[in-house]
Structures are given as structure tokens and as C-alpha cells.
Amino acid sequence: MLCTLKDFPDLPEGTIPLCEIDGKLYFAPNDVANIHTFTSSVSSHPHVTVTKDVLHHISTKLHSDRVFLPVTDSLSHRLQTAWYDGGLVQVLEILANQQDNSFIVGNFLASWFLYGHRLFLKAKCFLSSSTSKEKIFNRERYKVGPIEHIVWHPHCPKLAVATRDDAISIYSTECQLNPVLKAKTQRQVSCIAWRPLSESELAVGCSEGVYIWVVDPNSIISRPSISCTTLLKAPTHRRVTTIAWSPQGDLLATASWNDHVMYIWNVDMKDSVPLKRIGGGGVSLLSWSPDSSMLFASTTTTMFRIWNCDAWEPEIWYTLGGDVIAICWAPSMSDMLLFVTRSDPYLYALPSATRTSIFASPASSRHTAAHVVADFTRVRLDSGYTVGGEVVNMVWDKKGKHLAVMFKDCPLIAVYTTNIAPHFYLAPG
């Protein structure tokens, strides 16, 4: 029977669930909720405070041109300023908008050049089946708070927090200092990931490529310099929007929404190999299986690929509609994964019950479908909360006991109880 959000038990009025201890849920009133009264398991976690200064900083950065009053300037001066500010295109725009009758030929030529330039951009956009730069980076920017991304270190209680000013702060209880990682060219940070089996390496995907920061845990420097970082960039691979470390920390997969080629990096030697396949759009999401034997790569279309990491050949799958926005591999096994698409409010499981593994029978793989295991259709609970709809993110715990699902425009997080072996089982937590 399909599990729906209606199946979740009602929340006691005026309280929120804080934790689960030995299978029992503990609730507390909204205003005096303190998890430390129930458990000390999170006492070693760092205390994170992000001040409003960050937002203030962003606001200043975005609208710095508005603090100056417009002035009337000579054409040559305006052209000079435009050249330095926006290059040839902005110069052409000024020439095309010039209202002077004595400049009619220049006006005409500039308009035609601009027209040709726009046509070229449209054609380029169409051919690469990509979204424009603004779209790519604004697609995820529906968040309104100062925090963009939060990532736990895979092995110790250390937290990396990326804020909207493209800085990354490292929080740890063992260190009083919170190093801030910031570089001049580290702009439009789109993803961050700690390197497994390493105490201090953090990969940051941004508009320039991928920065690999090495933050010495014993250092007393609060603002590590640019010498602590390595920039990975390939000539045609700059705007990195998704990154994933292999679980053994030896390889880094990077991809971009506007590029159908993804790169696998040997980070230490700064060497990369492109993985190119025709079809699908840009690569929007990457995820390694826990045993490094498979790599999930979702595209911006309905297609996604699962790469076999031994021969590096992909298996192609199609969703019913919409691209995959969240995916979880089953912990400690690589023959099962859960995913959610943008258009359908359902949780899918791969492989379906008819197959034993993703690569078990390639011949029949095209005829096999993923099966739905949960319904995320938006519902209104008796307690008054509305939950469900488009999924933002989804995480499966390392023991495979709980699955947490976060929805867009929803204050609640759905936590399911799961079991993997001997049969997959999912029930409202």
C-alpha cells in the first residue's frame, strides 16, 4: 500500500517533535523547546550563529550603483565607462540608444550588431539546450535567508556553512575560531562538499570552477589566505553547479547545468577526464553510491544516467516528467536508490521489485520501471499545517533507518522509518 503524508500521526497542539530516543518521539512546546533536556547526543555539535550583517552586506553589494545620482555625460566618456563596465555589448547598446540625428549610421550599425548578437546567443542557448547564466544561478535562489548551503563533515562534528555573500564559515566545537573561506573570484557559490577521509579539505563549486580549500584544524588563522586553496577549472567547464566526492575521497565529479559534459578530477594532480554523452541537457545532480561502484547523474531533462564506475559506461533512464531533484542511495549497498522528480509528487525506488540490481540485466533494463513507494501530494493535516508538494532535499541516514524529506514552502520535515533488508519497507515515522 502506498504511503501518503496523511498517514503521519497528528502533532500534539502547541508542540513540536524534538527527537526520537529508543523509538519514542519526544515533543516540547514551541517556545521552550530545548533538545538538551532530552539527550546529550548533540552536545558536541557546534553552535552556529549567522548574523544579519551578511544580508546587509549582500544588499549593499547588489545595489551599489543605485547610491549615485544619474548625471549627463559626454558620449565619449559614457562609451569609455561602458567599455570598462560591460565591454563591447554595453558600448553597442549606448550607440544604439543614441538619439542624436547626426549619428544615424552608427546608430543603425550598432542596432544590427546587437540584433545579430542576440540571435547568436539564442542559437547558442538552443543548441546547448541550456538555461542562461542568470537562470542557472537564480533557479536555486528561492531561499530568503542568509544561509545558502550547510554541509556536515562526513566523519566528525564539523560544519561548513555557505552564506549569500559567497563566504563559507567552518564551525566546530573543538575550535573557538570559525575560519571564513573567501576568495575574490569565488562568486556565485552553488555547492559545497567535504572530502571524505580527510580532516580539512572542502570543495566549493562556483562560477569560476571548483575551489579546494585546505583548512588546517589546528590553525589559529580565522581568514585562510588564497594560498590554502587550489582552483580546478577546465577551459569549457567554469560554472560548476553540482559536485560529488567519491566515498573514498580519491575522485571528484563536477558538472554544470549548462553543460552536458561532466568531469572526473584527480584533485591532487589537478588532472581531469571529461565524460561526454549525447542526449539530455546539462547535468544537474551528481551522487556516488556508497561503495563507489556507481555514479548517479541527473540531467535538466527527463533523462538521468547511472554510470557503472568499473567500465565507466552509463545506463540511461527516463522519468515520466520533470528532472530528478533529489536522490538517495541506500546506505551500505549500491543496488537501490530513491529519487524524486520535479513534476511528480512521488518517491520512486530503483530497482523495482522485478530486478535484483541496476546492472543485473541490461537487456531488460529499458522495459523495467522504477516503482512508487511514497506519495508526497500536498495535504492539510488536522493540526492545521500544510505539508507536501515539490521536494527540496532528501536524506537517508547511514544506518538506513530514517529518511527525511524537506518540501518547498513548508515548515515541516517528513521523517519516514525505513528498512532495507531483507525487503525494502517505508512507513511514516
Binding site: H155, D250, N266, M269, V273, D310
Partner: protein, 555 residues
Amino acid sequence: METMDDLGAKVELGRELCLGRLLTASCWTLALQLCLLIGWSAVLQSLSSPSSWSSALAWWHPPLLILALVSQALFSCNDYLIEPQLNTNRLKIFLSKFSFRNLIVLTLYTTLGTSLALVYTSSGGSSAIWLPCEGDPSKWCLQEERFFLILGGLFLGTYFFLHDYLLAIRSFKFPILQQCKFTQLKSRLSSVVTASVRSTSAPVSVYVTAYYVWGKSARNVFCWLFSVSPPDNPIDSFFSLLRPSILFYFWLVACMVTISVRLTELLFNIWLTERHMFPLTSDSALTLKEALGGNSPRIIRHLACLDFYLMSAKDRDRRRAVFELSQPGGHPHTWNAIKTQCFALINDFVLGLEKGSRPTPEEPPIRLIRRPLHICHGEANKESLADPFRRPSIQHTDPLVRIFTNLRDWSLIKWAEVSHFQFISYFVGELSESKIDNLLLGGEQVMWVAHGLSHLACHSLEEDNYGVMQNDLPSIITSLLRLKVALDRIVKQGGLLKKSPKHDEFSFRMRNAMRASVKRSIYRLAIHFKMYILDLHLPKEIEQQMLTFVAFKAV
């Protein structure tokens, strides 16, 4: 017990494996070069007379191409088979450039360049380098355009010899991903072509300038050697040389030569670095433990280390064979043999690093060792033992031997005196980094072995039913930590060298890569065995280091 004959036979098996791969790579190179040549001929002929493009290939083109290919194969495979030469001072480095082997390689490169230029320039039209003169048909006149192009091929061969062979660090690179060969070729082909086209502009401009300056002399020497008349309209003038047609054609030929050279190297690299699965036990084939040994050719040892790493990380069935006991007897022969080779590899590397990074003791002042020769007895012997820098005393009474020894000592003392002058010591002074850089060329295999041991140890928790491997866990941890400490030292040195003008990017990256890689191996062990670290009875210092890894605070 393995006899010397068995060992020799196994080494021979390794050579056969290399030879087989070299032959396959050569065949593929030949096929690809022929495709290139046919494509080139087709394009050039279709521009002039589309109907007769097939006639552009002369009968002697394929044999010449094979000659060029064989010469290329000969110097390509050498790097894969023999260890890189170690030169510890600038003088040795300089002198090593003038070896007989390099002379042969130079000859091969120039043959390759000239023959490729000859083939590519003749497939476009006339293949003659001289023709009957227009004014006097009884005489032969040099066709200078063609002479210019073929001499260009010779120059390109020399340029590649200097740029790619003599002055470059020769080392082969394993692919990041173990893709199939065709996919590798496909994905790297475009970058090879682009890089070749880009790198052609430098030698082309140098050659054109050189021809403008010395072209006349070269032409006259050629005409004198082959008794032909110089052309009526020489092209070594400024405007003749800058004609777009000849420049473009030479640039095209140079591109084709460059692409041919780089493509051959790429094909050899792809074929020789393809993963080979060595059997764990076999009487007739080269096994993993034998391939890991120091007697194997260089590429075979690399392949064995890679196979060991991939087996440890991904192949459960083969891991099970490692953890098995022999029947009858119940001994872990397979693991013991592999373990011995792996430890030997790591220990040799660590010893090499320690020797290379340790500052050499200052030579004692010359006065201390210059003393009258005498036959040593009693006290003198003790004295010589106490002074490690003292020359061993002479115990011969034969006057001839004494004179000879005197002369030798005198020359050594003089040499020591002379080598202390700053100018001379620049050339003969020991380069501390050269030993380390030389070791780092084989760093990848040490990384694979470290990861292999680490993976195998972690899997042994679940798969090693007899505790075959867990007996050696303390030794594995100790070896890896010792390796890490040695690497820490050279990484610090490398950080200082980064600012120096003689900074070697490969060496710098490899130091950091090795350190990060070994640390990951130790972290893997720390995560899997964190509950048992105190039960392993490690030496106190090692235990402390492991505990920092368990806490994820290792420096």
C-alpha cells in the same frame, strides 16, 4: 621454493606481456597513421583533381611510414621498461645529455620528422626534390619549396627531441578512470589534436626565422652534396618566405607531423597502461606477487600495483583468495608473498626519501685527512675507527700499490679542494632534490600499494575468517605512518622550493598527492579499527599518531 630459473622464466613472462602490448599498440598506430595519410592525400588531391586522389599515395609511402613508426615505437617504449636515470649533480645531468643512447634517439627523431615530412609533402603533388632545370634540361635544379618543407621535417624532429625528450621529464601517466581503450582514445583525441596545433606555431616560427638566416648555407651544402644546381628563384628572402601559401603549407605539414608523433605516444600510453589482472597463483603465468617484485619491468610493476589496489578495493572473490590458507599445510602463502613485496616497496621508498631529504654531513676540512701515509697498527686503527671521515689506512707494503694509492688519494684531495670553489661546486655539488624527484616518478605505485593494504585490512574485518591479515595489522599501520612522516618532511621542503625558480610542478603536485593519499589510507584504517586501536599493541608513538587520526586531527 622458487629457483633462479623459475624467476628468470617469470621475468621473461613480464617481458612477453610488454612485447605483446607494444606490438598491438604499433599495429593500431600504423592503422591510424595510414588513415591520417589517406585523409591528408584525399583532402589535398580533392582540392586539385578530385578524380585521382588515390594515386597520390606512392608505393614507398607505407614502408617509410612503418620505418618512422618503428623508430617512434623504439624510443616510446623505453620509458615504460627501464627505470629513470638518477643524476645527482648538474655536471652529471649535463653529461647525461650527451650519451650514446640519446644520439640514437636523436637520429630516430630526425628520421621520423624527415620521413613524415617527405610522405606528407609528396602526397600533395610531385614527389621529386630536384627537377630538370628550365633553361638547361641536362642539369638538375633544386626544388627549393620542397627542400624547405623536408628540412622543416628534420628540424621538427630535432625540436621534438629537445622539447619532448631531452629537456622534459619523461614519465608515463596512468588514466584517471579505467575506461575502455576506444573511449579513452576518443575522449583524448581532440585534446591531442588541439594541443598539437597550438604547439606547432613555436617551432614553425623558429624554423622560418632560422631558414631566413641560414637557409642559403643549407641550400648550398645540399646542392654541393647532391651535385644539383641551386634554384633560379631562391626563397630565403623576406618576402618569399612570408608567402601565405608556403607558410600555410609548412604549418599544415608541421601540424601533421606533430599530430603523428603525439598520437603514437597516446596510443602507446593507452595500450601499455591498460589494466591487467594478474592471477594470484599460477605455474604458467606471471602472478601478482611476482609482478610486484623488483625484477619486473617498470610498467609491469606499475600494473601489478594498480591491480593490487583495484583487487583490494573492488574484487571480493580475489580478496577471498588472498585470505585463504594453503591446502595442505594451512599457511597464508599468498598473503605472505604479497605482503613481503608491498612492505619492500614502501620501505625502499621511505629509505630513499630519508636519504634524499637528510642533509648531507659537511665534508671535514681537507687538512684533517691529509696526513702522512703509514702502516696502521694498534692505536692508529682505533683512531681511524673514531674518525669516520678518515681514509682507510693502507696495509700493503708493495711500493707499486703504495704509489698508486698515493696518487689516488692525492687526486681525491685535490678534487675535494677544487670542488669547494663556488663556481665548480655549482656544477658538482649534490642536488638534494634530484634523488627525491627521481623517486617521485614512481610515486603512483606506492600510493596504490598503500591504498591496497588499507582496503584489504578494512575488508579483512568481515572477510578474513582465519585472521590471516590481522596478524600483520600493526606492521601495516607502522609502515603507513612511517611513510606519512617521510612524506611530511618532503612536502615541507617542496613548499619552500615552490618559491624557488627551479620549481618543478610535477614534483610539487606528486608530493602533495602522495601525502594526501597516504593520509586517506590511514584514515580508512582509523575509521574501521577505531574501536580496536588500543588492542593492537602498537608502539606508544604509533598509537598516539593513530589516535590523532581517529579524532580526525592529524596534521
